[in-house]
Subunit: 343 residues, 2 copies
């Protein structure tokens, strides 16, 4: 254990993006006098007649949802990216732009309006994993699409406009910024070391056991050394896999189990339906050599001290670097306790 | 006018960071069913006995604020960066960290608890500019400090824990991520073209007049072509200056005037005290050759549609790229109208 990291301000290097996070361990002591978030303890019905994601309800564009039994995927009615929109380039001195095409989908995790992933069984979450695989494959096969971003915004504080359990998939022609950075960092490492960056990192973490929250035969759940959000976590396959299409045999279930474990622990932490954005970063579908990719799923939850006090990524974070107040090691201790306790 | 940019999804290149923003003009039509922010229409007193920033009040550490008349600067009682903390390096395989020292200050813009920059005269804002100059100079002269980040978080939604008009200054040994990117992009351009990147950009914008909101003899207020936040703006000196220490004669007043104009327009836009984070990016104080730097002040306000509906930078934005719904050109029209109208 590097004890200096618990006592003094420092920055940590994110091996996946090449960027830094500022860590100020002593800052957690400052009193909070700012905005508190609203907590909704409202018990939701299993079916809401006004919800546009519930089975058999009518969406804004007039389409009627089928009477789906587990997972239901449809194209976003207000897609940020579309196919068939005009292709163009602006290359006018220092004004540089280019058209972007894509397909945006919505994926309902369950017909039950009242549930979240944390309330579902690993067996049910596995059906979500199967749907993600199908979408990644089908979208990736489309020649317009070179990258598929699977994500979920959970909770009103994360801009989620409907509490029905659902995620999104935005797929597009070019690589978004964050994917581009991770592509480059992984490639540089792979070329130099002939091994996977994340694979080697996980081996190191498994030996140290300071930031590992959970492991099963195929996955670890970890707070990365360079985590930005107070309780940020990452699910990583122990052996290198380029994308979720590489999941073999029981691994889709083991992945679902990892999702189940971490989302349940989150809900226990502040005794609230824990808000977060989660996302899967995996190999682009551009048909190029992506042997350097090691896919992983990250959770970025905003809460800091309680169900109502979140971390604000504002002034210094926007203009300087991300900054965190409690150390990843302390956050790991808190979450591990909740995972191993049987309550 | 590139009309395709108003009609079709595209990405725009940020010349200062080398990153992209996804623009989806048609998305603004989607109905909003998500979280609304609370608006406080509370009229604040000019003095609040419980405010730790008001003159003559006692702060948490027991110090008593002086009876200040205009601007008051002190060292942050809960500084994220400190001097005299231990120096160390962690270079342990893929775990990479290094200690970071610095000085964090708080700057009260006015003793009047009820005011914001938008309510102050340009003459009073000029005193804030003088204080920024003094701090940039003094902190920069400290051999521990190589970069000085001046910023303001305004409004509860921006994590501001006290409504008393104030900003912060975090100064440190190394360059934060965002500054590092801008340093590199400006240097590359300067080496290639022997002129300032932002200077050349502003000339192009002054010829087009599509995104300029206001200009005086020394400054333009502009929505940058690559703006991320719905009503993001930037104040830029027309002639290249490395830092705010280069302000000559009347220019500190003209800078204050630009701040006054844009903050007043913001308050009018949704008829509310407009929340934002603002910050000044300028030359590092590392004593190196910083001839490529062109300082500028940016405003990142979160509101999108009204005083209560903000833009959420969540799932896709965190895992992919920033994404905006209304175009910079539309935002420029809306703000320009408020600046030129005499009401
Ligand atoms: O220092 P303050 O105003 O208490 O804190 C605020 O600004 C800081 C710098 O941007 C952020 O790190 C905090 O999350 C935010 O609440
Ligand atoms: O598509 P939704 O859920 O309506 O919208 C939400 O997620 C999007 C993708 O992260 C964001 O761009 C929006 O700001 C957010 O409100």
């Amino acid at each position: 254990m590097h004890t200096d990291l618990q006592d003094y301000s420092h920055k940590r290097y994110n091996i996946l993006t090449g960027e830094w996070v500022l860590v100020s361990p002593h800052r957690a002591k400052r009193p909070w006098q700012g905005q508190n978030e609203a907590v909704s303890n409202e018990v939701r019905p299993t079916y809401d007649p006004s919800c546009y994601l519930c089975a058999r309800n009518t969406r804004i564009n007039g389409e009627i949802n089928p009477k789906y039994k587990d997972v239901f995927v449809f194209t976003n009615d207000f897609a940020a990216l579309q196919t068939g929109s005009k292709s163009f380039t602006v290359d006018d001195g220092l004004l540089i732009a280019q058209s972007e095409q894509g397909i945006c989908k919505v994926i309902c995790f369950s017909p039950d309006h009242s549930k979240s992933l944390a309330d579902m069984t690993a067996k049910d979450i596995e059906k979500v994993v199967f749907a993600w695989q199908k979408e990644y494959k089908e979208l990736g096969d489309n020649k317009l699409i070179n990258y598929v971003q699977i994500f979920e915004n959970k909770g009103a504080v994360m801009g989620c406009s409907n509490p029905h359990p659902h995620g999104q998939i935005w797929s597009q022609t070019t690589l978004p910024n964050e994917v581009d950075k991770k592509d480059q960092q992984q490639l540089d490492y792979f070329n130099k070391n002939k091994s996977s960056l994340l694979g080697d990192y996980i081996k190191q973490e498994l030996a140290k056991k300071e930031r590992i929250l959970f492991e099963n035969d195929a996955f670890v759940v970890i707070i990365p050394f360079w985590a930005i959000w107070p309780f940020e976590t990452m699910i990583v396959p122990k052996e290198q896999q380029h994308s979720i299409l590489d999941l073999k045999d029981k691994e889709s279930f083991l992945f679902a189990e990892a999702i189940s474990v971490i989302t349940k622990a989150y809900d226990k932490l502040f005794n609230t339906s824990f808000p977060y954005s989660s996302g899967i970063h995996q190999a682009p579908t551009n048909g190029k050599d992506n042997n350097h990719w090691h896919w992983h799923m990250s959770f970025y939850p905003p809460l800091l001290r309680s169900a109502t006090v979140k971390k604000f990524m504002v002034g210094y974070e926007m203009f300087g670097s991300p900054q965190r107040d409690i150390t990843p090691e302390l956050a790991a201790k808190m979450l591990t306790k909740l995972i191993t306790s049987k309550a």
